[in-house]
Amino acid sequence: MQRFRRSALLVFAAGTVVLAAACGSGGGTTTVTKSSGTPTSSKVLTGAGSTLVYPLVSQWEPDYATKAGVTITYGAIGSGGGIDQITARAVDFGASDAPLSADQATACKGCLQIPWALGATVVTYNVKGVPNNLHLTGPVVADMFLGNITSWDDPKIKALNPGVSLPSTKVTPIYRSDGSGDSFVFSSYLSAVSPEFKSKIGASTQPPFSTGTGAAKNSGVAASVQSTDGAIGYVAISYIAADGLNQALIQNAAGKYVTPSVDSIKAAADAVNTARADGSIPLVNPPASAATAYPLSTYTYAIVPKTSSKASELKAFLTYAITDGQQFGPDLGFPPLPSAVVSSDKTEIASIS
């Protein structure tokens, strides 16, 4: 018995060391403190939420620390988590790719949603023998996610892709099992172009898909698509390049198959300037007048309380984010905000007290 205990302890200790080493590199929260030398200001703003906007925020952190002497601490915990955190006032600002739902807005007790970056959701697929940039339309994607199209050599897909040889592989839709801004964009778009999708499933951060399999977070969907022959899914635009995924070109209202890019997202943003009463600006399925617009574009929002004990710091940071901060965008795949949105944002920001 004594010997057993000792060996158990040894093995356990060895395991702990390995684990501790493995955990050292993890973590989604970064804290940027001002470099030593100059006296550091104690001003800190904390935020949490969207992973989509995180690459941009992580550029703002060091830049803003140098320029304004304010430390930004942002946890990329996901849009849903960001909404929960700001609702509980556990952070100074939240970030979400989907606008607040009616219940969420009520729970948040007077939160503003300020569009502060542009992004897109991209339809991805993995079918052995099928090249990148397959052509698809919204109604066909809707049929695949409704279970109406079950094999990749369906005549409806063939008709859009003359010259591409499509196998009879079974279609496996893969969707987000957690609440997600990408699900919201994807299901809003399909609801806009397919009446059947709208009535059977509808637009939501958690659409009740009835076929296919779910996976958690963008990374889970990416992994699931990569390991499933015949998969079709959707991820935030940055995951396409990062994980080497195929992208489908979705036909926009003008009838063009558009590559998701800084330019095509910007074209969608330029075509839509009317904000809803709650401050959100829905970008999916822009009108045909925007010939080069990508149809699954979206704004991502900063969610901030109307009254905050750190109002002045918050206002300064948000103003920086929508003006100077935008310069980092294009390199990371974020188009600059249209000037009309910047000016309406400034009005919103001014109302924080």
Partner: protein
């Protein structure tokens, strides 16, 4: 309990009134009380959160298959089904393995091997569930999809369990991950149980000409059968409550069906996936309702295990 301790040690009166002892009793008592308070407080809070959903859906929640954030209709039937199926198959796989490990370590293994092998089995319990889940997605899922499930489908496809298309996520990977998680718990309890069988009984059986297997079957296992049941129930509670590794491997689709290849979802996995960022207040409340159901099931399992153990203690006490 306390009266027995006092008579056992027969403490002098002055010692009992000693300040240090009083303080010790206070501190340890407070610790014990804290656990009770925390348990009641959690149960109260979860039920309070769930109250909206409980009053909206009532007990119909248990039999409704809806989970729709758009129409604001929620029900737990498919999730209860998923929890039941994954727990059942995880136990079906884990219990024979665990009993075999227990017997091996207690009766058959060379003395030199017992320590290291036992430690390794227990180390399995030290793997964080998120790591097991990751391994489930990246390694086990594709292996099952490419090799195991096609084989089962080709040869036993007429059994509903093995019908359907092989998939890298679904019930089978989730069941196997759970199996790996509960084997260490159940096997270490089994080993202790077999070690506790009086050696004169074992020796007597062997002296009467039994083989080792006959001795185990007719003496060791019957002696501790109640304990094994309790161990199995503890394993069950673990399987029901596991969220992360299951959510990574099960596919997250609420669904009832017999095929082990299809995806499904469990109570715990749904809570882990959706408690953040619920779209409506009723959904938040419905997730708390799921938590209430899970809490009740887990408490029931643990209480059953405790009752069985107590009954065995009493019976064993009576035979001595």
């Amino acid at each position: 309990m306390s009266t027995r301790a006092e008579t056992d040690f027969a403490l002098p009166k002055r010692a009992r009134l000693h300040f240090g002892d009083l303080a010790l009793r206070g501190i340890t008592g407070a610790a014990a009380l804290t656990v009770l308070i925390v348990l009641i407080w959690i149960a109260y809070k979860v039920t309070q959160q769930a109250w909206d959903a409980i009053s909206t859906f009532g007990l119909g929640f248990l039999t409704s298959s809806q989970w729709n954030a758009v129409t604001n209709q929620f029900g737990a039937r498919d999730l209860i089904w998923g929890t039941a199926v994954t727990s059942f198959f995880a136990l079906l796989f884990a219990v024979p393995i665990s009993i075999a490990i227990g017997l091996f370590l207690s009766e058959l293994a060379p003395r030199r091997l017992r320590g290291p092998v036992g430690a390794l089995v227990e180390l399995l319990a030290a793997i964080p569930s998120v790591v097991l889940g990751l391994w489930g997605i990246l390694v086990m899922g594709p292996f099952l999809e490419q090799h195991v499930e096609p084989f089962l489908n080709d040869h036993f496809g007429w059994i509903p369990l093995f019908s359907g298309t092989p998939s890298n996520v679904g019930l089978l990977p989730a069941c196997l991950v759970l199996t790996i998680m509960i084997v260490p718990i159940v096997s270490s309890i089994c080993r202790e149980l077999f070690d506790s069988v009086p050696s004169d009984l074992k020796a007597g059986s062997l002296a009467l000409g039994s083989t080792r297997w006959e001795m185990m079957r007719s003496v060791a296992i019957p002696q501790v059968s109640g304990g094994i049941v309790a161990a199995v129930i503890l394993g069950l509670a673990r399987a029901m409550g596991e969220a992360i590794a299951v959510s990574q491997t099960i596919g997250g689709t609420a669904r009832t069906g017999w095929s082990l290849f299809g995806s499904a979802d469990t109570l715990a996995s749904r809570i882990a996936n959706q408690y953040q960022g619920a779209a409506t207040a009723l959904q938040t409340s419905s997730i708390a309702y799921l938590a209430t159901i899970l809490l009740v099931l887990s408490l029931a399992a643990n209480l059953t295990a405790a009752l069985i153990v107590r009954r065995i203690r009493r019976r064993m006490g009576a035979t001595r």
